[in-house]
Symmetry: C2
Subunit: 530 residues, 2 copies
């Protein structure tokens, strides 16, 4: 369990043939040993061919066996022990409790998908039985089920080195669907990536998976990433990161001779709307919760609340005063890498310099601190200036937020209508207050994947009902979530068997329903045998 | 109920501002009265704005009311009576029985979607209840449901003037989902399109739908079609037609600032595999069924069997002899329009001239017949020549098929592996025979949306278990079907409500489950109240 700098291709650990690099500790700016290697285009092709070769076996294996692989991945990740935690901390600047929590979420996610596939819900089995005597024409027996779409490329995200990286939500849902996975690891935590891939490789061996079921490739997005997305055998792509990076992949996939689906989760402002009664009653409490959410993980969450909207008056002033007070006490935290820290500092400077934007409060400065830090910042702007300037809807990835001061409800509505798609929208409302804001709620709900009340958007529950998605440009495909069990839908496609011999049906379609799953039989939900 | 040549925009019938044209009777080549008008780009924008304005009300209305609209559409189409049948026959050259059958399918489809939405299955409701005492953090109440994606553009297909045109499968599923629909009618049956749109407009009025819920625009694909697909308010596109036409839309939608999903159902060869025992036993019977399927509707079905694969020997010779005999008796039928007839004739000539291709039989020649006809044609080629020449996998849209003569199973497998994605694949097998062909079946199943045994692919049942879709290039998105109730999935997106006030939940999410629908509650299927 040491970091070797090798790549995982077709079940073997191999030196990359396209040069070497080092991980960097963002708390010091120093390189971390050992030397690591990058994949060549030829090695990408080998990994893709291995994934394709594994496809049929992996797609068709019993669900129990596939679930066993997912559970073994979770066990092997836990078995990595302290080396994983230590390395992830060194590569990301994130504290121990966060890394341990994220490890728990990662393993919980793998186990949840194991449980989920055994319920068979994801198969969406539909059976229309034969009607031999129907007039004018008989109906033949028709049976429908979902199956794996084929090899999937997953891009590790910088901001979740475990839960949205090598064995994160995209990988777990794609493997659960029965798709071999090719991970393009993030260069911001390459050692962490290798350790997790080692765990997956051990799990794959111990549960007798085909060799190409999982590969880890490191290297640049422009070369290794593009080669993966362009490979004809690849059938879908999962990505979490910047708008520019995500759209590059979306366009690349669309230009292939055979276009393929790409699920990119990009930027989001996650607007928080403060309704008047709630503000009147709880301005200080909401302000405290808001600043806590804003600074969680140095603001490096997709669901970070980067925009707050309220109607001017004494209650909003109380909110501002309280929020500014809390913010001023926040330390400048170490960000994930130099690029993110620089982009954050520059983004805050750009937005701060826009017409009508005021700096209301900042946290501790980064001066004198080693490493790549981000200074918490709260800005404000009038609704009129906000609506007039599209630049103010650019995400500042980090602990910064803009308060939009609205003179009245009409201005608040106009500001909301000027927003593009978001992952989340939040409403703070007193009991019964929301009933008076139907239009506002409808406008907000049309712009988000998750609408939450009296809370904050950070903290994304991994469960059946979660939607971590949303209208463009929050994601490239509003029809899917990347967190929660519904994420598996991204990697499935239906097939229909007509007049098929009963003895050849996969278990899910057999008359006796040996998996005891819920099926749609002649339009009715049923778990009974036919 | 007369044809006016007007367009339906925002619930009003308006003269198009971009010139006039006439429908053409393909059986005579003569123009049909009256003069018809084309939409201007400005009129497209008006229709799109009306659809957007109708979105919120249509999305949120009670399911019973939406179902009532779908049923009223079916009733109003039937109420058109003979004028619809007569006009559709004149515009398409299709016989009365076919038009009447298609009308029945169209109305049945609308009623099936009405029934389907009332079951609530399409909402995919998921509820994870609050766990206030969970450690280390409580879980908040989370509720997930699907809702309409927004305005949808539907392109009428030439080959189904009713069932895949103005009120066809795409329109029915999009309306059922709660999406306003903008139809770009097909110029091959414009009068039919207007009559059906009149029926929908009457249904919309009588059931008090918002004015922009449905629009009919006529004009060229390059102008009206492109303007529709490029409109920012449009959120999805459905299309059935040629590969070139479909890919133009796919690329156009992908290049938008906000890419949107496009569901194009394009070409397909629909391979039919004849296993040796089946051939030995039933060569003549299969041949008869095959020629019947090939010539149905002058071969103008997406699922027309354009490719047959068998292993050489006396049984295959019997099949050929019988098929040739049946084919020779087939008349040259009137095709849908001049372009289709010309493309068919030219396609057959091009494929016939390829190395190793032999013409085995032709039906009655078109000589002397008025109008735009297509001559039934059966070609043959060796597996080696087939695999070597990609041009042989070009669809000849019409009553032509190629028999691929394989020397052995390996050649048959190789020929299958050379195929791209298909809507359907068919296997003819004797009892128990398929068990010996696992690899062949797996390879075929990976290339199709529907795999059928001992039948023919024409005749697509509208039911819950149907998949009319398949891997690229049969469609642009293997994850969806365009026929059957699962077609509604194309036009939905999930939203999650977190910690939402109980009194504001839509009915589908309420604790008491007033719609009595099946929901996934904490991971378990349930119809019980919470």
């Amino acid at each position: 369990m040491t970091i070797t700098g090798k790549l995982l291709i077709n079940g073997e650990w191999i030196d990359g043939q396209a040069g070497t690099y080092h991980a960097v500790d963002p708390a010091t700016g120093q390189e971390l040993p050992p030397s690591l290697s990058k994949a060549s285009i030829e090695q990408v092709k080998q990994a893709v061919a291995a994934a394709e070769a594994a496809s049929s076996e992996f797609r068709r294996m019993p669900l129990q066996k596939r679930a066993g692989f997912l559970r073994a991945c979770a066990e092997e990740i836990m078995a990595l022990g302290e080396i994983l935690v230590t390395r992830a901390m060194a590569e990301t600047g994130l504290p121990k409790a966060r890394i341990e929590g994220e490890r728990g979420r990662t393993c919980g996610q793998l186990n949840l998908f194991a449980d989920t596939i055994l319920t068979g819900e994801f198969l969406d089995v539909r059976i229309d039985t034969a009607l031999p005597d129907r007039q004018p024409l008989p109906r033949l027996d028709l049976r429908y089920m979902n199956q794996a779409i084929g090899p999937v490329v997953v891009f590790g995200a910088s901001n979740f080195p475990l839960a949205f990286s090598v064995a994160g939500g995209d990988t777990a849902s794609a493997l659960a669907a029965g798709c071999p996975v090719l991970v393009k690891g993030h260069s911001s935590h390459p050692g962490t990536s290798e350790l997790v891939a080692q765990a997956i490789a051990r799990a794959a061996r111990s549960t007798a998976m085909p060799a190409g079921v999982f590969s880890l490739l490191m290297g640049s997005g422009r070369e290794v990433g593009s080669a993966l997305v362009s490979a004809p055998e690849v059938k879908a792509v999962g990505f979490t990161g910047s708008f520019a990076g995500g759209m590059t992949l979306v366009r690349l996939a669309a230009e292939r001779p055979e276009p393929i689906p790409v699920f990119t989760e990009m930027g989001s402002l996650n607007p928080v709307v403060l309704l008047p009664e709630a503000l009147e009653k709880d301005a200080e409490k909401i302000a405290e919760g808001f600043i806590g959410s804003l600074n969680l993980g140095v603001g490096q969450f997709c669901t970070n609340p980067g925009l707050v909207l309220g109607i001017e008056g004494p209650a909003l002033d109380r909110f501002v005063e309280s929020a500014a007070g809390h913010l001023a006490q926040q330390p400048a935290g170490v960000m994930l890498n130099e690029g993110i820290s620089q982009a954050y500092t520059q983004g805050v400077a750009t937005i701060s310099g826009q017409p009508g934007v005021n700096k209301m409060a900042v946290g501790e400065a980064r001066d004198g601190k080693a490493g790549f830090c981000g200074q918490p910042t709260l800005l404000s702007v009038s609704a009129a200036d906000f609506i007039a300037n599209h630049q103010l809807t650019e995400e500042m990835f980090g602990p910064a937020s803009i308060l939009v001061r609205c003179r009245n409800l009409d201005e608040l509505l106009a500001a909301l209508k000027s927003l593009k798609g978001q992952l989340t929208g939040t409403i703070h409302a007193a009991a019964g207050e929301m009933a008076d804001y139907d239009e506002l709620i409808d406008e907000l709900s049309q712009r988000v994947g998750r609408l939450l009340v009296n809370g904050f958007p950070t903290g994304v529950e991994v469960c059946h009902a979660m939607v971590h998605g949303g209208p463009f440009p929050a994601t490239s495909d509003v029809r899917f979530t990347s967190v929660g069990t519904a994420a598996i839908k991204r990697f499935l496609r239906p097939i229909c068997l007509q007049n098929y011999p009963g003895e050849l049906f996969p278990e899910a379609l057999q008359d006796s329903n040996p998996l005891n799953i819920w099926r749609l039989v002649n339009g009715e939900r049923s778990r009974s045998p036919l």
